[in-house]
C-alpha cells in the first residue's frame, strides 16, 4: 500500500511510518521539515504542490496540527486561528484537495483527541478544532466517491509525550502500540465516518 504520512517528523508519525514501512508498505513521509517532500498544511498551495509531487496513493494519514495552548483569559479571535489553520483547515484541506489524487477505495485518517469530549484547562482551542474535524469526518464519509473512506483517530494524551501529563490529570495515556492499532483500524478496516478511540 502506498501511504502518505503528513507530520512524519513528529512522535506519532515517525513511530507509525517506521512500523508500516517494516511491513513492506511504501511510506511517503511529509512534514514541514521533511527532507524530500515538504508541506505546510496551512497553505492550500503547499498541499496542492505536495500531491502533485507524490502522485497517486492509497492512504493518507495526518498526525499534525498545531493549536493554541494557554490560559483561557488569553484566548481570543486572533490566537483561535492557530488551531483553525493548523489542525482544522489543515486536515480538512488535505481531504478536499487530496480526494482528487487518492486511488479508488483509498482512505484518509485524520487526528483529533480526547479533548473533543473531555476538555482540560488551557485547551479550549484544541477542543473546538477537534470537534470540527470529527464532525467533518462524519459528513465527508457520506460525500466521498469511489469507495474512498475517512476516519479520525482520537487518542488520549500520548505515552511518549510525558510533558503533557500534568495538563491531563487522571487521563490514562495512550501507548504507542495502542495508537498503532487505532491507525490500523482506519487503514486496513472497512469502516468510514468513524472516530476511533482507545
Amino acid at each position: 500500500m502506498r501511504i502518505v504520512i503528513v507530520g512524519a517528523s513528529g512522535t506519532m508519525g515517525t513511530y507509525l511510518a517506521d512500523v508500516l514501512e517494516g511491513e513492506g508498505h511504501e511510506l511517503i513521509r511529509t512534514s514541514r521539515s521533511a527532507k524530500e517532500i515538504q508541506v505546510d498544511t496551512t497553505s492550500t498551495q503547499s498541499i496542492e504542490a505536495m500531491f502533485e509531487k507524490i502522485g497517486p496513493f492509497d492512504a493518507l494519514v495526518t498526525t499534525a496540527g498545531e493549536t493554541f495552548v494557554g490560559p483561557w483569559k488569553n484566548l481570543n479571535d486572533q490566537n483561535f486561528k492557530k488551531g483553525i489553520e493548523g489542525k482544522m483547515m489543515g486536515q480538512i484541506n488535505l481531504v478536499l484537495i487530496g480526494q482528487h489524487y487518492i486511488n479508488p477505495k483509498g482512505s484518509f485518517t485524520l487526528i483529533t483527541g480526547a479533548l473533543t469530549h473531555e476538555p482540560q484547562i488551557n485547551f479550549a482551542n484544541a477542543s473546538a478544532v477537534n470537534g470540527a474535524v470529527e464532525s467533518f469526518v462524519k459528513a465527508a464519509a457520506i460525500e466521498l466517491q469511489n469507495g474512498i473512506r475517512i476516519n479520525a483517530v482520537s487518542p488520549s494524551v500520548i505515552e511518549n509525550s510525558p510533558h503533557y501529563f500534568p495538563y491531563f490529570p487522571g487521563e490514562i495515556p495512550t501507548t504507542m502500540k495502542q495508537l498503532e492499532y487505532l491507525f490500523r483500524k482506519s487503514l486496513f478496516g472497512a469502516g468510514t465516518g468513524n472516530i476511533i478511540k482507545p
Copy 2:
C-alpha cells in the same frame, strides 16, 4: 431577567424573544438588521460595540450563524470560511468578549444542530462548525468564572423552515414549542457544558 438575543430577526429568535418577553423578561433583540442594536458577529469590533451599548445582562442566546450549503464538489478552503466566520467564531467571540460584560451566574446559550452527529449531503461545512461549537461549549464550561454557565441547543430541522425538509430525509422536525423548551433548559436550568437536544 435581562436577556440578549443575537439573531432576533430570524425564525427562532423572533419566536423565542416574543415568548420570553410575554413572561416579563427584558429582551434585547440584536441582529444584522435590528432597529436599535445592530451586530455583525463576523466582526469582533461590532460585537464589542454591541456589548458596550447593552451594558450588564443575565443571559445571551444566539440563534444566528450562516454556513456554506452546497454540493461537496464545490466545497473548498474559501467557502469553508463562511461557516467558520458565521457560525463558529461568531458564536465563540460572543462568549470570549461577552464574558466580560455578563452578570455573575449568567448564561450563554449557543446554537448548533443535529448535523454535528447526523450529516446530510450538502451540509459538511455546517457539520464541522457545529462540532467546533459543541466542543467549545464543553471546554468553556470548565473555564468560565463567577458561576457563568454555557450550553448549546441542538435542534433537528426546524418545523417552521419547511423548505429545508427535502434536505433532511427522515429527520423528525423540531417544533417551535420544543425549541422553546430546549432554550428554557439552558436559560433557567443549572446545567453547564451541555448539548441540549429534543
